[in-house]
Structure formats: structure tokens, C-alpha cells
């Protein structure tokens, strides 16, 4: 058998479906998520201002843009954008992972990683972990509003965003704090490489300096977002926020 690859030349480019187009889609949707988590994290910090401020902020999100937008309109716009981004992000990831898998049917018996960061190598499984976390997180705080703490599904807890939050991270629910902190670690990893990767994919790292800057951006976004998010559960479990 002759090991000749029989691929012929591709006539007519179809670059809109190319690997790089998929990557561009991934980068663009990733940036939507980065912006979202930055704003979300900032919003969460309202918890430090107490129940009133926090709940007011939560309500404000729904009245934002009225009367141009209906009640909760902005939130729905954001949800639709996020959902579309999620579909694009995950869809591209699956398509690219499949390609990668098909390209190396026989694995190396020894393979060293020389340059890649741990974060870059854990994007796929880390992404899956984040996805599962987000499902739980939405069930917990948005869709079902599951109160894992004292008081069960009493409406005065579930319909009060601040109390639902505080209730989730009491010392008795230490495991929930751990889950959130692990999720933030996964998020940090994902953002660390994801931010750099998005900048590179969009073609903004054409010199060694700009590449170094993009790497710094990865660190900054990862630390600020994951760190900022972690403050609320940590300060809650230690009783600073109550």
C-alpha cells in the first residue's frame, strides 16, 4: 500500500468555515464572556455594601433602559447574547477538538510539553467543568433559586437575592464555598489562556512585545475576575458579609 495522501487542491476558498474562522468565532464569543464576567464580578461586589444596595442593584438590572426597554428587557438581551455566544463557543470548541482528535489517532508513547502553560492544556476539560458549574450556578441563583442553607425554599430567602447569596456560603455550607472557589480556579485558568488566545486569534500579537502584553492581560483578567468573584463567598463564610 502506498502511503500517498490523496488530497487534491482545494479550489475556491471557503474561509468562513475554516479552522481560523472557527477560532475567530471562539475568540469573539470568548470576549463577550470576558466582558460579562467583568461586569458580573463588579456587580457581585455590591454584596459588600449590604442587602439594600445589592438588591437594588439586582432590581436595577431589570429596570435598566426603561421605558425604551420593557421590564427585564436588558437582561433578556444579555441572556440571548450570552446564549448565542455559548453556542458559538462550545460549538467551535467541539469542532476543533474533533479535528485535533482525528489528526492524532495514534498517540505518542512519550510526549513532553515544553512551552505550553497548564492553563492552555486544560482549556477543553476546564471548559466542560465551567459549563457544568454554570448550569448549577444558574439553577441555584436564577432559574430554580435553590437555597442550600437554612430556611429551605422559603420565598423570603429565594426571592431575596442577597439572602439567597448569604445563605449559600454559610460555614455550614463550607462545601459550597469549596465548589465555588474551585470553579473560580477553573475560571482563572480558562481566562488566563483564553484572554491571551483571543488577542492572538484576533491578530493583535504581531511582535514579541505585544505578545508579552497579551500574556499580561491574561494574568490580569484571570486574577481580577476570579479573585473578585472569590471575595464574596470567602467574606461570607468568614462572617464579614452577613
Amino acid at each position: 500500500m502506498r502511503a500517498v495522501a490523496t488530497t487534491t487542491l482545494i479550489k475556491g476558498a471557503r474561509s468562513t468555515r475554516s479552522t481560523i474562522a472557527l477560532k475567530l468565532l471562539m475568540a469573539a464569543s470568548g470576549i463577550v464572556f470576558i466582558l460579562f464576567v467583568l461586569v458580573h464580578m463588579y456587580g457581585n461586589l455590591k454584596a459588600f455594601s449590604g442587602e439594600l444596595a445589592f438588591n437594588e442593584y439586582a432590581e436595577h438590572l431589570r429596570t435598566f433602559g426603561e421605558p425604551m426597554l420593557p421590564y427585564g428587557g436588558l437582561l433578556w438581551i444579555i441572556r440571548v447574547v450570552l446564549l448565542a455566544s455559548l453556542v458559538a463557543h462550545v460549538g467551535s470548541a467541539i469542532a476543533l477538538a474533533k479535528r485535533a482528535h482525528a489528526q492524532r489517532p495514534v498517540k505518542y508513547s512519550v510526549k513532553k510539553n515544553k512551552a505550553s502553560s497548564l492553563s492552555s492544556r486544560t482549556m477543553r476539560w476546564g471548559g466542560v467543568a465551567l459549563f457544568l458549574f454554570v448550569v448549577w450556578h444558574l439553577l441555584q441563583f436564577t432559574i430554580v433559586k435553590i437555597n442550600v442553607g437554612a430556611g429551605g425554599q422559603a420565598p423570603e430567602v429565594t426571592e431575596n437575592p442577597y439572602r439567597l447569596l448569604i445563605s449559600a456560603f454559610q460555614p455550614e455550607q463550607w462545601w459550597m464555598v469549596i465548589i465555588y472557589l474551585l470553579a473560580m480556579l477553573a475560571l482563572a485558568f480558562h481566562l488566563h489562556h483564553g484572554t491571551f488566545s483571543a488577542i492572538q486569534t484576533l491578530g493583535f500579537t504581531n511582535t514579541a512585545e505585544s505578545r508579552a502584553r497579551a500574556r499580561v492581560a491574561g494574568w490580569v483578567v484571570a486574577i481580577v475576575v476570579a479573585g473578585g468573584f472569590s471575595l464574596v463567598p470567602l467574606f461570607t463564610v468568614f462572617g464579614v458579609i452577613s
Binding site: 500500500m1 502506498r2 502511503a3 500517498v4 495522501a5 488530497t7 487542491l9 482545494i10 475556491g12 476558498a13 471557503r14 474561509s15 468562513t16 475554516s18 479552522t19 481560523i20 474562522a21 472557527l22 477560532k23 475567530l24 476543533l96 479535528r99 485535533a100 482525528a102 489528526q103 492524532r104 489517532p105 495514534v106 498517540k107 505518542y108 508513547s109 512519550v110 510526549k111 513532553k112 510539553n113 515544553k114 512551552a115 505550553s116 502553560s117 492552555s120 492544556r121 482549556m123 489562556h193 491571551f196 488566545s197 492572538q200 486569534t201 484576533l202 491578530g203 493583535f204 500579537t205 504581531n206 511582535t207 514579541a208 505585544s210 505578545r211
Partner: protein, 246 residues
Amino acid sequence: MKLTLKIWRQANASEKGALKTYELDGVSQDMSFLEMLDLLNEQLLQNDEEPVAFDSDCREGICGMCSLMINGEAHGPEVTTTCQLHMRSFKDGDTITIEPWRAASFPIVKDLIVDRSAFDRIIQNGGYISANTGSAPEANSVPAPRDKAMRAFNTATCIGCGACVAACPNGSASLFLGAKITHLGELPQGQPERYSRVQTMLAQHDAEGFGGCTNIGECASACPKEIPLDVISQLNKDLRKSLILG
């Protein structure tokens, strides 16, 4: 030096291969890695065992014919080609695992030899400047800014060995592709075809089955010519522009 070698043996593309272990004595520190394999082959021949097939040609690090995954690193532990790797990088008693490049787009021909014709086809699909012989204007009529010419040169040093694909967990050839896009795209002569080139070359890259880039950088660290990761950024940028330009 005495070494234990675990070498991938595979009769041809269709048969299954496996790692086989050999003991080799009398290896000198001054030998190149391929001369060490020459020594093994002489020993195998004397024992009536078929020598290990591996690619090499210039043996001075420029033709790109040699390959080999050595202990999990493309071209071994130094930043160079396998032919320029010397045994002083190893110690007496070492066990060395030698495998071929592994990528579906680089099917194994025999033992450690793979078929890299996919790279030729990527070049065929736009990796050139169309300039028929005899049609060229006077060379100095188009000055090229020195820094751009330097970047063009630095990326034109790609030897097409395939280490980037071999090292990439996705089996992507983005570094190879980006190097050519950057080389031709940085020169004034390369401008007319710049945005069609990126589309056709990328289409061929994808059709060959190479994976997508996840920007993790294993390729650049495996590249014996130290082509930097920024060529992939350039590739992405040119593609983005070409999509916008239609």
C-alpha cells in the same frame, strides 16, 4: 556510551507498528544523533535484522528532511534539527524513545519516515508570488523597508520539517502556514496576492486535516528555526482582514 533505544518499527503505512527495544554500545559523545542511528543500523545489518528507516539528507540542519520525536520532544532536547543534535546531550545508560511524527496528515511510510507531501500542497495552493520568469522589474526599483525585510527573512527560514505539527496537541500546521503568510506578506512584492493567498492556503491546510490552533505555543518551542508564535497572529490577522475584504 551505552544506550537503550526504543524505536518505532512499522513495515509500511497499512501494517501496525510497535516500539522495539535495542541495546547499543560504543556511542561517542561527538556523534550526531543520526550517526548514532547509523551505528545501530550497521549493527542490525550484521545481525541480519533490517535497518531502521529514517529520513535525513543535508545533515547540516537546513533541508528539513530529518524528523524524529526523541523522548517526547520534536528533534530532541535542543533547539535544532535532529541531524544537528549531538550525543553529548545524552548520558551513558540513557533510555531514548524514538517515534515518528504523529499526525494523520503525515501518514507513516515506514518505521520513522512519514509523508509530508501535505506541506507541498499547501504551498501549491497560493504559497508563492506569481512572477513568471523574465517578467521581473529591476530589483532595486521597489525598495523594501529593512525591518519588514528582516521579518520576512526570519519567517522564511522555515525548513518545512513538520516539527510544529508533530509537537502540537491539535496537529495544527498553523506555524508553517503563518511563517509563509508572514514571509510573503511582509514584502512589497507579496501584496497583490496577500489576501487571496491566506484564504487558499488555509483552505488547503484545513482540507489536509490539520487541526486548528489553540495558541498554546508548543509549535514555536519545537521549531528548530525558532519561528515565533507571532506568525500565527499575523496569519489570523490576514485572514480576518481577508474575510472583511471579502
